[in-house]
Symmetry: C2
Subunit: 308 residues, 2 copies
């Protein structure tokens, strides 16, 4: 890409915008910032909010790391071949996870990222964008799920009529707990390895990434405002704690970003900000028949067409 | 091994003994039993205790599974080569994790296992025993740590004067959270691939496995009795919840048994009984200087010689 520097610049700009927006929405707590450096190259700007009125724990993390691409990274990326020997990598991204206090407000996650591999002479091997947004309501509300997917579809449609139909099933596959045979939430969009090709330039991918990133705040604002004043009690909090347990399982067992981060000696506290403040595991927990918890479980499956 | 059937028989016998002992120790709660079958071969007898007076959540799980050994299993075992094509595996084991209610009582874990690989004609390729016991005190108490390691060493010494010196560092390596640069607890012993060799027969290994298994109950009983009546408050419970968070991280990110189980389509509820009822993550949590929590952290390192 011609002006690669613009990517981290945009991510930082967006981090500011989103943190400001979430702070306003919360009304009480502020983000704390930690600037950190990675011994082997690069660093990041981690921002975490805790114990707010609306948000119990959330992180909005910018990072920009680079250096020698160890074999482990090459393999994790599914790459192979002589050209990757002595390769160097550059990766920058913005990662967000927000755990609200109220079980009636959904957990949200977004990641947008840019990745670049060069050979030992500094020649470009490959570069791409990737990302995704997904929503994990403790209770699935159909109208909210439709709103969420419609908004994502409209962002996709502005760039390619096929994007949503490709990226929505991709999210269904990715945000899935195979060991539970259960979706993490209602999905969203997921995409990766968006390279310069016949249909789109890298610059166009960057435009798309920006649009996805910009959509985060208004979408989540709407979902928070719709649900934050709904009443709830002990039962809903218990269910929330169990759903959070599943979130922990997904992130530690399946999530590629988390595993990549822990493997590449990323900053553990920044990576694991995605974990909720509390989580619960109950052996063989099953919601009562006909309960709203059971109804939610039935909707944690792949392939629901939220947008007709 | 001549009488392979004895292995699962012993594991079941020991499961009974340990469950009886833990129930007596608890005084209130009883284990619930679930018998389950694995679609691709075998099954297990899962026993879980919840909401006791002493034990908040614990599992004592017997399993015996077999079938075609998929490439994934072969690779997970670190094996390779033509002889493993169309191999069949047989694995039986007893796994225990106990999370006590009181933060003053340590979490304990034991696993003992037997593994067997045969080729497509039913000829033995390889068979071995493995296992380990380790202790995770929320607060490290030196006298308890010494007691624990002395008991394990005396079991080891009855079989081989070199066992403890080999298996104690192995546990230090295994029960370690690389991403936190922190030991899970005070370690114990860990051993694997104990095959029939010049120094010991498989039958002798089985004797050792039995001795390790038999040592579990008296060791843990003593540690529970020593600590169960110690006073504690909110601060100790918060620290316990954070240590439990680390336990979750270890089991989901690092533990080979957990990952093997989830990969081989084991029974998820049985595998994840090892997770505590509740856990907490606080961003960048650091205990106060000079506090007993900080003192414990300083002892969560490799290489402490608990037995002089």
């Amino acid at each position: 890409m011609k002006n690669r520097k613009q990517v981290p610049e945009f991510f930082k700009f967006l981090q500011d915008e989103i943190c400001d927006g979430l702070e306003k929405l919360d009304g009480t707590s502020r983000f704390n910032e930690d600037n950190w450096t990675r011994v082997k190259g690069g660093g990041g700007r981690t921002r975490v909010i805790e114990e707010g009125s609306v948000f119990e724990k959330g992180g909005v993390n910018f990072s920009e790391v680079f250096g020698d691409a160890p074999n482990q990274i090459i393999r994790t990326l599914g790459l192979d071949g002589e050209e990757f020997e002595n390769a160097r990598f550059y990766a920058t991204g913005l990662s967000i996870v927000v755990h609200p206090k109220s079980p009636m407000v959904p957990i949200i996650h977004m990641n947008i990222r840019y990745f670049n591999l060069t050979d030992m002479e500094g020649q470009q091997i490959s570069e791409w964008f990737g990302g995704g947004i997904d929503l994990t309501p403790h209770y699935v509300v159909d109208t909210d799920a439709r709103f969420f997917h419609e908004k994502l579809k409209s962002v996709c449609d502005r760039f390619d009529a096929n994007y949503y139909d490709k990226f929505k099933p991709w999210a269904d596959e990715y945000f899935f707990l195979t060991h539970r045979n259960e979706s993490r939430g209602i999905g969203g969009i997921f995409f990766d390895r968006m390279v310069n090709d016949n249909s789109h330039t890298l610059e166009q991918h960057f435009e798309f990434i920006q649009a996805v990133g910009k959509s985060f705040l208004p979408i989540y604002e709407e979902l928070v405002l719709r649900n934050q004043n709904l009443p709830f009690g002990k039962k809903e909090e218990e269910w929330q704690a169990i759903r959070r347990g599943r979130y922990v399982e997904f992130n530690l067992v399946h999530d590629r970003g988390t595993r990549f981060g822990l493997q590449t000696e990323g900053r553990t506290e920044s990576i694991l900000m995605s974990l909720p403040k509390t989580a619960t595991w109950k052996y063989k927990f099953k919601p009562d028949k006909g309960s709203k918890e059971e109804l939610t479980l039935k909707k944690l499956v792949k392939g629901i067409a939220w947008v007709k």
